[in-house]
């Protein structure tokens, strides 16, 4: 990272990362009930991978933001359910549901939203102080 990271970059990029995380939570929750007739085609929950991006290589300044470097697709085993009357059931009468823990996703959603709010708070405080600094001596 050669460009100087300002506090606005730091908070802005962190908000972008939290937004990606919120999108993954939304996808997982939306597909929590998407059953399939084969364990290979069933929806796999996705998770973002967060990585700190430092302002300087030596990490001396303490200024760092966060980026999503990867979206990881979980390889947890799909849930096998016996439902012979289900239209999607395979020849043995089984359907496959994605391995999504809805409660954990809701917790993730709340945490994400709280951290997004925190970043907004940082941003607005920094903005107010900057504007006040511009008016010094007036």
């Amino acid at each position: 990272m050669t460009n100087k990271l300002t506090i606005f970059d730091v908070a802005g990029r962190s908000m972008a990362a939290q937004q990606v995380r919120l999108n993954t939570v939304a996808s997982n929750l939306a597909n929590a009930a998407s059953v399939s007739s084969s364990p290979d085609t069933v929806y796999r929950p996705i998770k973002p991978v967060f990585e700190t991006q430092y302002h300087d290589v030596m990490e001396k300044t303490g200024i760092a933001t966060v980026d999503v470097t990867d979206i990881y697709q979980s390889n947890a085993t799909p849930e096998k359910r016996y439902a012979p009357s289900h239209p999607l059931a395979d020849k043995d009468g089984y359907i496959y549901a994605p391995p999504i823990d809805q409660n954990a996703e809701m917790v993730d959603m709340l945490e994400t939203s709280r951290q997004y709010q925190n970043n907004i708070e940082v941003l607005s405080t920094a903005k107010t102080l900057l504007l006040k600094t511009l008016n010094v001596g007036k």
């Binding site: 760092a64 405080t125 920094a126």
Partner: protein, 128 residues
């Protein structure tokens, strides 16, 4: 100009340190969910003392180094977490929020002091 420098040095040093601290704590808050991230901070009092303690020594050679430091050389340290988490992240949001608010308040206070100094100076110049 030395008199003016002396008049504004305390406030400008404090402001740069506060600004720096705001960026560092902002970084901590931004990384609150990043595994293995270690929260950082500066000891404002120590950094301020070291930045102000430049003394009256004159540099006669470019190879001379400053005694004390500046706002830019303030040492950034690692925060000791109250309760470490399993993912190796040492950011504790409540701690960071309090520190951020404290820092912002002090920044604003310093701005007010600076404005006061400037208006005093103006009044003196106008002879009011």
């Amino acid at each position: 100009m030395k008199a003016l420098d002396a008049l504004f040095k305390a406030d400008s040093t404090a402001l740069s340190l506060r600004q720096k601290r705001m960026e560092i704590i902002g970084s901590n808050i931004a990384n609150a969910a990043t595994p293995h991230f270690k929260a950082r901070d500066i000891d404002f009092e120590a950094a301020y003392k070291s930045a102000m303690n430049t003394g009256d020594l004159t540099k006669t050679s470019s190879a001379h180094i400053d005694i004390g430091g500046t706002a830019d050389t303030a040492e950034v340290r690692y925060r000791v977490p109250l309760s470490p988490s399993l993912d190796g992240n040492t950011v504790e949001l409540h701690v960071e929020q309090v520190q951020f608010a404290e820092n912002a308040t002090h920044y604003e206070a310093t701005l007010n002091f600076l404005n006061g100094r400037i208006s005093t100076m103006r009044k003196a110049l106008r002879g009011e």
